[in-house]
Amino acid sequence: MRYLPLSDADRADMLAVVGAKSIDDLFVDVPEAARLTGAIRDLPDHASELSVERQLGAMARKNMVAGEVPFFLGAGAYRHHIPASVDHIIQRGEFLTSYTPYQPEIAQGTLQALFEFQTQVARLYGCDVANASMYDGSTACWEAIVMARRVTRRGKAILSAGLHPHYVSLAKTMARFTGDALETALPALEAETDAERLLGAIDGETSCVVVQYPDIFGRIADLSPIVEKAHANGALVIAVVTEPVALGLIKSPGEMGADIVVGEGQSIGVGLNFGGPYVGLFACKEKFVRQMPGRLCGETVDAEGKRGFVLTLSTREQHIRREKATSNICTNAGLCALAFSVHMTLLGEAGLRQLAELNHTKAAAAAERLSKVPGVSLVNETFFNEFTLRLSVEARPVVRTLADQGVLGGVSLGRLYPGVDALEKGLVVAVTETVTEEDVEALADALEGALK
């Protein structure tokens, strides 16, 4: 077997050293009844690379590949073009096959890259500090709510109706067990966000207000009034960014005073991957740093005074602090964070701005074109690269019809909010730099056909 280096002769020699007759004898501590005597039945034996490629290749071919059709899905995961050099770097064995950098003297590569990542994230979000990554945007969002509870010692979080419904769903799951109180609402299919509702709800018991920016419908609203009201009431503002490319064009949440900014980093460097692995970004104001969850990389010096980097403030973490830790997170999304950082380094300030501009321009043109399809109207007044259409009929079956014609036309609100009649005609459409004018025409044509 190709991954197992021991030969039978090796095994015999080693068993002699160990003083056992067979490998099975090493399992004496396992109760007889639980010891399997041979390979598990109903499962196939080992297979060649060729055979594995055929089996998995057959599954892969059953999927409709985003890059091969006109593609407009977003709603928390975006298809951007990732330069080939990004994958080259993350496949370097020294990055791919190394562990969490517990021995910093021989892990400076990973550590310096994480330090650069933290700085990039903090700057992008307009925050003082950032951690070394979370699983994804949705879990980062819940960790932020928990952190706000720790900081404010209050248990009521107000969630914007524009927050991604999966993020809300996750928070509801957790809150049911932790006893946090969540105020949530369904979004309305209109140009205005629920900023007024949020302003009205903030009170002296509020730990935090959670606002997505741009929101699930693609709408962009100024966070400043909410920040002002929240701070006046001793509450924190958590901004959630599911599309980091947007921040190349619009103000960062940190600039507007958000206390904690979290989000999904998938857009930069990671790819769609059917939902995972992604990379959660987490940044906050410096004063909250010791309440942050997750790994942190910090600068220090070595015994000769040379600059170096280490994992730090681990007294917040589970392996030191156990049940008193700020989070239970251990393995995070290191390699995806590296991919994010590498891609961001290729973009730089100029590239990120160009990329954002290109996305926005294409989206604006697409919104204009699609609004002209009979039976389609644009909900948004503001948007970045994603907007919501109101169709004349229920959107979910329309999306399926489009797929049958080889167009992946967007995410229906029926998929995101099942059973909510008021939203069933909504279709969220994302337009990135990978979309061509022909793609937009194909969607327009297919929509027109489906709405006849």
């Binding site: 080693m14 021995q103 945007g137 393995t331």
Partner: protein
């Protein structure tokens, strides 16, 4: 040459990506346009590749040598798996595509799940947890839901002293109180102490088996029975599943929930800190409470059960614990690994992993103290202590000394139940030659430690950095780079 930070490079006002020209700028962003610079450096592709290639060479990695971190299962990462994960049919599909357009992806998830269920002898599996600790959370939420469903609001989770830190942290994260249970002198859970603590307030025992001393819990079935008899449930930390995969099924030991680290047992690369993936297998009792979403086969068709069908067939699910469906990119790698090994190969995996650990253990007889060495074979990890070190030398010094010998150190100071613990997990992908070299290096450094060789305190000297000052880092945390102007302003 020292590699500067990207923020310190003169050429970092460049860009390594080209775009098609923007036709005409749009203005649909309201009054929220960025005005101030963000401060993101950019490099052309040649400079970017060089920066990260140079950085990479400061890392140790499995590709360079044995990586014996106990409890971490740093085995070889087959390159086939990387190729499979990059098939456009897996890598370039969106999680919210209509399910008819992702039947192959759902099939992959279902296939991997079926393997995991059969390998563990359990009843069902939840695929969405993002890593081991997230899997623990999933397991405890299911346990809590099951108890609540029968109106039983228990509050305590029992955790052995030797447990991974994630265990108590997770229990606390979902609102439980944690109590420790002690170990026997032979490094096992003290069954009598456990029994005496069990009662109507105990929701579950969280146990690791094989445990963190590298030993199988011979009383595991009795532990489960006692726990069940007291109305509690049994959670197993599956971090050490690599020792028993294909040979022992946790389901046969009475376990109710166990997470599986795909990035340990099933070889998905650790990537300097993740991503991982932590599917959780459940007993029949916990199955109704599994989280959303999950994949179901209906005839020839795969269905993704999300929020909308709850209330009909799956009303007891405790809900969603992440956006989307889990770590697809890790699923494809893990299934590629599993199909490559098959049932016979996986049995050989655990056998060789355990053989390698015992070979290390026995080859160091008389060199390093093995606290539980007398009690029989170990599982896939060999545990040593710092007993006999002289001159104030510690486990840390030995570990840093190993770096100078060309090896990554073992896990240090864990488990906590052994003084100056050193936990060595070679894994099955090491050859006898590599083990012999490692044993030789360990012997040499151990002799120095026992002789009180002061020079060990200066180790490592043959590494990209000498010992790093971790105290300084924690006292005055510098977590982001600031240029001198910013720093000066901040000081004012």
């Amino acid at each position: 040459l020292e590699e500067p930070l990207i923020f310190e490079m003169d050429e970092a006002d460049g860009c390594g990506v080209d775009f098609e020209p923007v036709a005409r700028p749009a203005g649909r962003i309201g009054n929220l346009a960025r005005s101030a610079p963000i401060g993101l450096p950019g490099l052309s592709e040649p400079q970017m590749v060089r920066h990260y290639t140079r950085l990479s060479r400061q890392n140790y990695a499995i590709d360079l040598g044995l990586f014996p971190l106990g409890s971490c299962t740093m085995k070889h990462n087959p390159r086939l798996n990387e190729r499979m994960a990059r098939l456009p049919g897996f890598a370039d599909i969106h999680p919210l595509q209509p399910v008819d357009t992702v039947q192959g992806a759902l099939e992959l998830i279902a296939s991997l799940g079926e393997w995991l269920v059969k390998l563990t002898g359990m009843h069902s599996v939840a695929m969405s947890p993002k890593a081991g600790a997230h899997g623990e959370l999933c397991g405890l939420l299911a346990i809590r839901s099951a108890l609540e469903a029968r109106g039983d609001a228990r509050e305590v989770i029992l955790v052995p002293e030797s447990a991974h830190g994630t265990n108590p942290a997770t229990a606390a994260f979902c609102g439980y109180r944690v109590e420790n249970i002690p170990a026997t002198p032979a490094g096992r859970v003290d069954l009598e102490a456990l029994k005496s603590r069990l009662g109507p307030d105990v929701a579950a025992v969280m146990i690791t088996n094989p445990n963190t001393c590298g030993l199988f819990e011979p009383e595991m079935i009795a532990i489960s029975e006692a726990c069940h008899a007291a109305g509690g449930l049994v959670y197993c930390d599956g971090a050490n599943f690599n020792a028993i995969v294909g040979r022992v099924r946790p389901g046969d030991l009475g376990i109710d929930a166990m997470h599986i680290n795909l990035h340990k047992t099933f070889s998905t690369p650790h990537g300097g800190g993740g991503p991982g993936s932590g599917p959780v297998v459940f007993s029949e009792a916990l199955t109704p409470f599994a989280p959303l979403p999950f994949v179901e086969k209906q005839g020839d068709h795969y269905v993704l059960v999300e929020e909308e069908t709850v209330g009909e067939h799956h009303g007891q699910s405790f809900g969603r614990m992440t956006a989307f469906h889990g770590q697809m990119g890790m699923f494809s790698r893990a299934l590629s690994y599993i199909l490559s090994h098959g049932a016979d190969g996986l049995r050989q995996v655990s056998g060789d992993a355990v053989l390698n650990a015992n070979y290390v253990l026995r080859s160091l007889d008389g060199v390093l103290d093995a606290p539980f060495g007398a009690s029989g074979p170990c599982m896939h990890e060999a545990l040593f202590s710092d007993k006999g070190f002289a001159g104030g030398l510690s486990t840390l010094d030995l570990a840093k000394g190993l770096i100078d010998e060309g090896f990554h150190p073992m896990t240090m100071y864990f488990p906590l139940v052994v003084h100056g613990a050193m936990l060595v997990e070679p894994t099955e992908t090491e050859s006898k030659t590599a083990l012999d070299q490692f044993i030789g290096a360990l012997r040499s450094v151990a002799e120095r430690a026992k002789a009180g060789d002061e020079t060990l305190k200066a180790a490592p000297v043959h590494a990209p950095r000498r010992r790093l000052d971790e105290t300084l880092a924690a006292r005055k945390p510098v977590l982001v780079w600031k240029n001198s102007v910013e720093t000066a302003e901040a000081a004012e």
